[in-house]
Symmetry: D2
């Protein structure tokens, strides 16, 4: 009964097998391995982006912070949701890498709206040299609230940013889950909707530790490479990153894993309705749920061995976050539901 | 015939097996996995340092840059050899992480001497607020020239630094090779010789990608953790780093691997003497050789399939760098020697 | 009719005379001039703080950014009002100097409240290494809304910060105006109320360009000096900064100038009541007013030669900011009122 | 007998008078004052550069650090003489503002040579992403050794830099002294010789505290303005900077002052020859001398009231640095010579 995060799940056997297979010979180091050449082609094909620059790093924070750093100047603001991972869960990494500051945009259920974004854009840079300038937009999909932007919603947010010529980033730590939820293609969710750079996550969806950064405009590719090295994120034995990503993308494994995780999320969602007093604080679009229960529920579930983030709301209810993953089983969800039921 | 670097070698089978074994269940993420608890104990025992703080990262540049950042203030100088990895091979990572500048100290064969260090220390900070202040010392062992400092040599360099209360760092990307060469214990090579923090390398000696940072004084441990997260170097699925390190240290594997690499280096060394016109630019203390050959040798060896860094000296000779590793075989060295022989 | 800002006012004649008087001989440069010795004593006496470290810089942004930099680590948050000068009017200088991020705290009329501060403090650092830590508190007095914190109000804000051992900064760009408004002594407004470091403004109140930074705890004085130099804010011909500050503080000139500015603010305040449709968006505690007028008023006043910041509110009214200064005359205020009157 | 530095001299009376004259009315703040408009025209005319962007700051370190920051990316090296002011006398300000590192180029008498520069350029960036890239060139004229580059010498140094498309900066803290020494025009010494940006000094040559930064290519002007604000170097009461610079440039005052300072340097130079045992360590091209005397000379001169930097050479001689300025009189030089004579 492990629902703390999809990053506590193991590595999918096919991906682990690929890592083991990569363990022979002496390919060139620092990203010049032949597997990386294949990964680059895979990702360009997937995104229908033959010119895209593609890089691998091992953590989502590295992917995001580097993506921000090549697009936001130190005297600018990065517009993001006030609960975005880059704002609250990366200990200031985007600011460290870029020197920029974050402009926090509110919005229900983890989503920026065209209205809240337009207001924030309008307020920034209005006093000339005295304030920071508009820098870039960063969206997250799946959001921190477990909701999913459709491609059309993304396009409605990149549009006002593009009015100011701002680059647009998508934090896709759970990109596969978002695609499944939105029934969209990678291209539709990104460059066709105005996204210039995407953090394409692997770790939370069955990899050991690998994320791709995809730059649809390769103009800043060399700068990316220098910043990756300069921040310690260029791996010498890069083949083990490449091998993970190749297997992850092979034959649609990544989408099957996300589809399963989302299905487990929906299974939890549907069955929560049977628990007396259970309510949901956000829509359940993918593999993350934010339920609230009568007081005492968390203690009971924990005693039964359920592991997840939980806390008490100001009005004394039990709050929880459940995250399902590629390895969550139906039995796991049933056991959790049982543990939560009075 | 792969002698380009020890970082092109594969992962040792025992270490890969440990990674595969770690691939089950749902341990806590972000370094709270039980394997890491065991690794911490292993390293404290190895270094005879029961209070040491121990952290894992995936690259040597990350280990060094973080070690520097927690010890050097932005207005200080980090004293290091002018050819140190932190000075020439990390694209400015130590400066990026710390804000400090590097004070490059000369010295033959990759080694700082007490004289060159004392001169550099004396020159720095002499003009009050106008210049940067003395910050810290960073030594490298094995050096970039393939030479090895003995513990006594290290102590003679940390002593003048300690006169100014400077923290002392050891870049031990090839720490095991240095220990074997110097026939020293980890404690003798580090804290007993005045070292406060060591980058303890695994990647170049048979791991997939893991380095430990060992802080003998844990006072800055929390700062280290924050800086690690803030630079994107805290792994969510940390168990795969832990598993590598645990297997690497198990039953002295790490020392056996380094002993083998060094032995292959010595084998090359001894046999190079038979090649007409071959000379060595630096003493061969461990697993790195810098020979010079008559013009034409590199072309011939490359044609025969030998892979290594090579260039032409100003006076027209063929220069080379050979690095042996845990996986270099006697047959490899013989083949290389054959390829180099006219 | 110049009400755009107190920083468009000229230099008080006594201060200019002191600058001219300082223009002889060859005193030591870089802050070692004898006038600075006297200024240090003056400020220590004024603040009843015999151990305080005292430094001069030429701009308020420099004073604030340096004060923040010596107190906030790069992985921490600086709590300040969402409209604070350091948040919106310094183009990210505090973040540039410190590496820290700002945590924006809401509150009516430019003031943080114990409730909003406590909420912000509680939210920060709650997720361990994933988020930035609590760093420091920065208050502004006079606030950007023209309101004034009393010493008791300041103490109620520094108290929750002190519960977390956070240093507390006061941006006193208009410190003299705040003291006059609150009828408080410098000590009461600062260290007796929990303030550790103050940016003590001179420029807006009759100086040419000088601000003092007063560190009640001198422990970080040397770091301050190095950061000041490193940011280009150490003046070689420092005597001209010292001379301004000495004259500013001589015989209470600084308080007389602020008392006059505040009196002119009150005069405007009282007479605005006679203008039909005029309302105030914030209380007028010192020398800044934020009135709203019927549409057309700003155009009429501008045509009559009145200079001030003005804009249109969302609901179509004319908004304005008036700032009075040491050099504002009663005639100026009467002329402005005349120009505003339909 | 004050020869410690030209920055201990007072402000020229004409410049002080201009500051006093500027002290009326309410001109716009933050550089929008009408005097600045005139200064911009003056400098464009002087440099024969009608498109140049012109900005004022108050310190040389600010001018240099900002000039570097807009031209050098964080992952690049700034090539400069190993004794350059930006390398040794600014406490790391250029690195702080830019994130770049300095590549120290040797050369006798404070001068880089085409050979030393070409060697440094060739060495940098040769290892791809592992090392920092070539960033920019920064020259100093008058050099720290008191020597002067001719325009032709500058052109021979900017040429190899231009081969790599590197921007070229001139630190002209003593630009006027260099022009007088080289008998060159501002244009000849700068853009006609390949210089892209110049720190045009005023403070050391009779101003109170003002330096211009002149960008011959205005493409980065807006970035400069943002970086100036963000570093606290944008003055609200900017008119007092403008007034200094206007008076400094009026009717060739700046060149007359420098001509006088240089003449006093030459006078010292010629008369030093009469002091038994006096030798010069560098050629005396402008207003700075580096003589060496028999032991005991410095003590005797100091006792007589002479003020200058002095130290003992490794072989026991008395070393000195004398700097003359606009306000040095013939009587001062005679008194110094008398004090130095056994």
């Amino acid at each position: 009964m492990f629902f703390a995060s999809d990053n506590t799940s193991p590595t999918h056997p096919d991906i682990m097998a690929a890592v083991v297979r990569a363990n022979e010979g002496y390919p060139r180091s620092y990203g010049a391995d032949p597997i990386m050449d294949r990964v680059r082609s895979q990702i360009r094909d997937l995104f229908d982006a033959p010119e895209a620059a593609v890089y691998l790093v091992a953590t989502g924070t590295a992917a995001n912070a580097l993506a921000v750093a090549i697009h936001a100047q130190p005297w600018t603001a990065v517009f993001c949701h006030e609960n975005a991972h880059i704002a609250v869960d990366e200990c200031g990494a985007p600011e460290f890498f870029s020197g920029a500051k974050l402009a926090l945009v509110p919005g229900a259920h983890g989503k920026i709206t065209p209205e809240t974004l337009t207001a924030a854009l309008g307020k920034t840079g209005a006093s000339g040299v005295h304030g920071v300038q508009r820098g870039m937009l960063s969206l997250t999909n799946v959001t921190e609230a477990g909701t999913v932007y459709s491609p059309a919603e993304i396009a409605r947010l990149t549009a006002p940013a593009k009015d100011y010529d701002l680059p647009c980033h998508l934090d896709g730590a759970r990109f596969a889950n978002a695609l499944i939820a939105a029934n969209a293609t990678p291209a539709e969710m990104t460059w066709k909707a105005g996204i210039d750079v995407v953090s394409f996550g692997g770790t939370k969806n069955g990899c050991m530790g690998v994320e791709a950064v995809v730059l649809f405009d390769p103009a800043r590719a060399w700068e990316f490479e220098l910043r990756r090295k300069r921040s310690g994120h260029l791996f010498s034995k890069h083949r083990y990153l490449s091998a993970q990503m190749e297997a992850y993308l092979q034959d649609g494994l990544w989408l099957r894993l996300a589809a399963h995780a989302n299905a487990m999320g929906q299974r939890l969602h549907q069955n929560l309705a049977r628990i007396p007093g259970a309510t949901l604080r956000h829509p359940v679009d993918a593999n993350i749920l934010f339920p609230t229960f009568p007081s005492g529920t968390n203690a009971k579930a924990e005693a039964a061995g359920a592991v997840y983030y939980n806390w008490t709301t100001p009005d004394g209810q039990d709050a929880a976050r459940f995250v399902t993953s590629w390895s969550t089983t139906e039995a796991d969800t049933d056991a959790l539901l049982h543990a939560l039921t009075p």
